[in-house]
């Protein structure tokens, strides 16, 4: 198994404790997020087309899709890449978006697993199966090094509450 010898500028970022604002500066690894809503348009033939459009006006109960795009703009492959998305207050995890790999999820930001592997402790003792509502973080781990110039997208659906 081949591994990149030195992860280049990513390590430079690690060595210097940069302020958060600078940490977001373009490096060899880039990540961007966008929030989309499902729009439904009635076509002339009577069918309904569902398309994703940037979210502008949202109310509780709306379902949104969070799309994370990542790219290695450097010249060396990068190993051990993970994408994390803590769910902000007001958003409840729903499911992976159609076409996206399912994320590992966490109920506390520490332990990650498939949703059906997690259980929630009950106040009176005992546990129950974890539900999408319980999820606080989602994570994708790239199981292969990200090649130079390589990139992709992951997406999940969430509901505003």
């Amino acid at each position: 198994m081949s591994r990149s010898p030195v992860p280049l500028a990513a390590v430079a970022l690690a060595a210097i404790a940069l302020p958060a604002a600078v940490a977001a500066a373009p490096g060899p690894l880039q990540i961007s997020s966008r929030v989309m809503v499902e729009t439904r348009a009635r076509a002339a033939d009577g069918t309904t087309r569902v398309a994703l459009a940037p979210a502008r006006r949202v109310v509780p109960g709306d379902r949104i899709t969070v799309v994370l795009a990542y790219r290695n703009t450097g010249t060396q492959p990068l190993a051990g890449v993970t994408l994390d998305n803590p769910l902000p207050r007001g958003l409840t995890y729903h499911a992976p978006a159609p076409g996206s790999a399912a994320p590992a999820v966490s109920l506390d930001g520490r332990r990650y697993a498939a949703l059906d592997q997690l259980r929630v402790a009950l106040p009176g003792g005992g546990t129950r199966a974890a539900l999408p509502d319980d999820v606080t973080h989602v994570r994708w781990r790239l199981d292969r090094p990200l090649t130079a110039g390589g990139g992709g997208e992951f997406a999940f659906q969430a509901v505003l509450h």
Partner: protein, 320 residues
Amino acid sequence: MHDNPVVRTNALRFYSPLTLALSGALVVSPAVRAQTATPAGTVITNVARLNVAAPDGSTAPAIDSNRVSLTLAQLVDVAVTAALATQPVVADSATAVAFDVTNTGNADDDFALSVEVDGARATYRGISVGGADGAPLATPVVRLRAGERRRVHVLLGPVAAGDPLPVRLAAIAQSASGTPGTVTPGAGPNGADLIVGSGGARAEAVTLLTFDAAAGSDAAMLEKSQSVRAPDGSTRAVSGAVVTYRLVARFTAPAVAALVEDAVPTGTRYVAGSLSVDARAISDADDDDAGGFDGAAIRVALGDVPAAATRTIQFQVIIQ
């Protein structure tokens, strides 16, 4: 102690047959429950992170994505439900009809209330937010927090007997109402847009008043029984014996916000965790479930009981 078990619903009081030397009471109280929706104007910001493992196995600082912010628009809507679909009333007596008004939006709002009832059959006296015996509001408007539900009573003068009489309560949000989806840009808190919800920010509900000769005479009844188990296995009421009380509430007509209260008798100690309703355990704490023990009495809220029904409450005490 030789009080009768007491049953009370809709401000009527009844006495069940004297069976035991202990009291139980079934009373009416207003019910309020709030839901939690994220408030209008809240800015929800999403940031994702990339992590790369360093060659020595340590983790480099995360790389943050751009921040995507959404400002939650103000949703305006309301729901009205009748406590009872049909309510038996006694002809020629004053009547209070209970409805629940819920702010299903995500911001505080005022809701104007209006009542429709045949004036030839009943005199409309107003709307109370202070229970069936409360005074009518000077202006029929209630202010509700986001998600708040409020019980209101339509107060009617003597109701003339006859066919079932509909009583209709309507509520309209004051910040906006009309066609669902109508947007007022920037009118919400924090510059958020304001949107009329799917219900058009107006709602109504109807209760049908029915005239039943039996109404008011035996609408609800509470029967209490006990069983004793002494430490020696006998049923003697000696120190250390456990007494299991069984309160059976029988509703021969619908009841609003029925509540059962029963004091633990002097000389006995409540057995922690022994309270149940229809064989489902109810915690002693004053929490979200339907009842508890406050140190002197058990309390169980049975809620609105729509039709003839039976509820069985059980708890235990130890004779000291």
